[in-house]
């Protein structure tokens, strides 16, 4: 009786969901972030529903199995635009984004009230190497020091000290591809000394991102500048959401997301910018680390390059933009806070351009070289830049390293478009926020 009562109470909790992002799964993540009945958690240990959003490539299935087995009992899975594994019983596949929150809530409710059985483990719960002693005192290695006890390397310091002279044992590990602070799909092998990054090797590149369809249309025929600039601003604001979420500014990250969802030519950035500056984001959280030098910035392109002081922007060659008096905005510095200042400036500029272009009905002119929010696209779309992390992250503290990753848009741009935001999605969001201007 008492247990029933407890379970009933538990089913009233917001559904704790750990999202595993497959290709194009980040859209679902951003949609769920604004759903009041869903709580997105950062660690699989904190969830009772595992959401697999989007198609997961074959090389990331093994990590997915491990994440699946990390959820504490009772747990269940939900598959969004992905076919559930055949041996999982009683799990749903959802294809429509608007159905997703209700389905997650239902899964959680049923799990709590006992209508649905907890999922079963896939992998065997055994350590990768046996914990069995061989040595005289039960130790697993050859001597007291050194050796590979129980098949696990000992933490011995073999690396040059890069900080203050206090050389610590270094710690090497792999993280990803479903770590929430990485771009979807990215995995890296990291060596830490204390919480200082000693070396960084990106092992799996993030999934290519699909930009708004307007950028692909712009490669075929002239498109209204108002439309393309709004898409650009939306892209930047969505990235700002992830960064602010990581920085612990929950409320601001959600307003940024709401602004992105309901973006129109009459939207303004003033409120968000003011609150961001007042919160001390640029002084306390986004500190100067992660600076790109000129060479790296040129290689990277896009807003990151302009934040490092390079005034390269394909829009300035476009006749349509020239009519609007466009000139690229720049920052100097090239670090994390410079990049976010740049992003804010560009969003503001895009909104302004969109307003002017809408009034004067200006269209783009060039079709073979356009500036995407990720960077210039002349012959090929912008390529993956995750290799650059291996160069700039060593020497940063863990938190700064993650802030740097969040500030860089490293994923490549996919060849095919991702479609525009569907009207249903934006309507649902407007209902939730109530401060949309349209």
């Amino acid at each position: 009786m008492a247990v029933n009562w407890l379970r009933k109470l538990a089913s009233h909790k917001r559904a704790p969901v750990f999202p595993v992002l497959g290709k194009q799964g980040d859209k679902a993540l951003r949609y769920l972030a604004l759903s009041p009945e869903i709580e997105l958690v950062d660690s699989p240990r904190h969830a009772s529903v595992l959401l697999i959003a989007g198609e997961v490539p074959a090389d990331r299935l093994e990590p997915l199995r491990r994440v699946h087995d990390q959820l504490p009992d009772p747990f269940t899975t939900l598959w969004f635009r992905n076919e559930p594994w055949p041996h999982l019983e009683n799990v749903d596949r959802i294809d429509d984004l608007t159905d997703l929150p209700a389905a997650l809530t239902k899964a959680h409710r049923e799990l709590m009230t006992g209508q649905r059985d907890s999922g079963c483990r896939i992998l065997s719960d055994r350590p990768p190497n046996p914990w069995k002693g061989e040595g005289d005192f039960g130790q697993g290695g050859e001597g007291m020091m050194g050796g590979v006890p129980y098949g696990r390397p000992m933490a011995m310091n073999m690396q040059e000290d890069i900080s203050d002279g206090l050389t610590l044992d270094s710690l090497t590990f792999r993280l990803g591809p479903f770590f929430m602070a990485f771009p979807p799909g990215m995995a890296a092998e990291v060596t830490l000394q204390g919480d200082l990054v000693q070396s960084w090797e990106t092992q799996l590149e993030p999934y290519p991102q699909r930009l708004d369809a307007v950028f692909f249309n712009a490669r075929k025929h002239p498109v209204p500048i108002a439309e393309i600039e709004l898409a650009r601003a939306r892209h930047h604001l969505q990235r700002l959401y992830h960064a602010l979420h990581l920085a612990g500014l929950e409320a601001l990250s959600l307003s940024s997301l709401r602004l992105a969802h309901g973006l129109s030519t009459s939207s303004t950035l003033d409120g968000l910018r003011r609150r961001l500056v007042r919160s001390g984001f640029f002084h306390l959280a986004a500190v100067g680390g992660g600076v790109l030098n000129t060479e790296q910035a040129r290689q990277f392109g896009g807003p990151a390059a302009r934040a490092a002081g390079l005034a390269d922007d394909l829009r300035s060659h476009d006749a349509g933009y020239r009519r609007l008096g466009f000139s690229p905005v720049c920052q100097d510095g090239g670090g994390v806070s410079a990049r976010w200042k740049q992003i804010l400036d560009e969003v503001e500029q895009s909104l302004m351009l969109a307003r002017q272009a809408e009034r004067d009905e200006v269209y783009t002119n060039d079709v073979d070289c356009i500036e995407t929010p990720r960077g210039p696209w002349d012959e090929q779309p912008p390529e993956d830049a995750s290799a650059i992390l291996d160069e700039i992250l060593p020497g940063l503290e863990w938190g700064d390293a993650l802030a740097t990753i969040a500030s860089l848009d490293i994923a490549a741009v996919a060849d095919r478009g991702g479609g525009t935001q569907s009207p249903g999605e934006s309507r649902a969001v407007q209902g939730g926020s109530g401060n949309v201007v349209k």
């Binding site: 011995m156 002279g165 206090l166 050389t167």
Partner: protein, 101 residues
């Protein structure tokens, strides 16, 4: 809780401490032995203060001084560990066979 039982407890702590300080190869574990000895000493000092010293304030003062000595011992010990570790990548007493190398 009498003076005798308290002193026996202190003697036991000191005994274990002596064993630890003499037997451990690692510097830091050796320091733990020393700390345990000082733990016993402090307990004995407070016990004497409470039962034999008629509450003379010097008894408590002695304990404070022992605490200061412990802090000094810890700090110097760790400085040595850091210095030795940096040079030799080890923290074993045996690795300190010479003053420089």
């Amino acid at each position: 809780m009498t003076l005798t039982t308290l002193l026996l407890l202190a003697a036991a702590l000191i005994g274990i401490g002596i064993y630890g300080a003499l037997s451990q190869q690692s510097f830091v574990m050796l320091m733990m032995g020393l700390e345990l000895i000082l733990n016993g000493v402090m307990l004995a000092a407070v016990a004497f203060w409470a039962f034999s010293g008629a509450g003379a304030p010097e008894g408590q003062l002695l304990t404070i001084i022992v605490m200061a000595v412990m802090a000094i011992e810890m700090a110097m010990g760790f400085a040595l560990v850091v210095a030795v570790f940096r040079g030799k990548q080890a923290d074993m007493t045996e690795s300190l066979t010479g003053l420089k190398h």
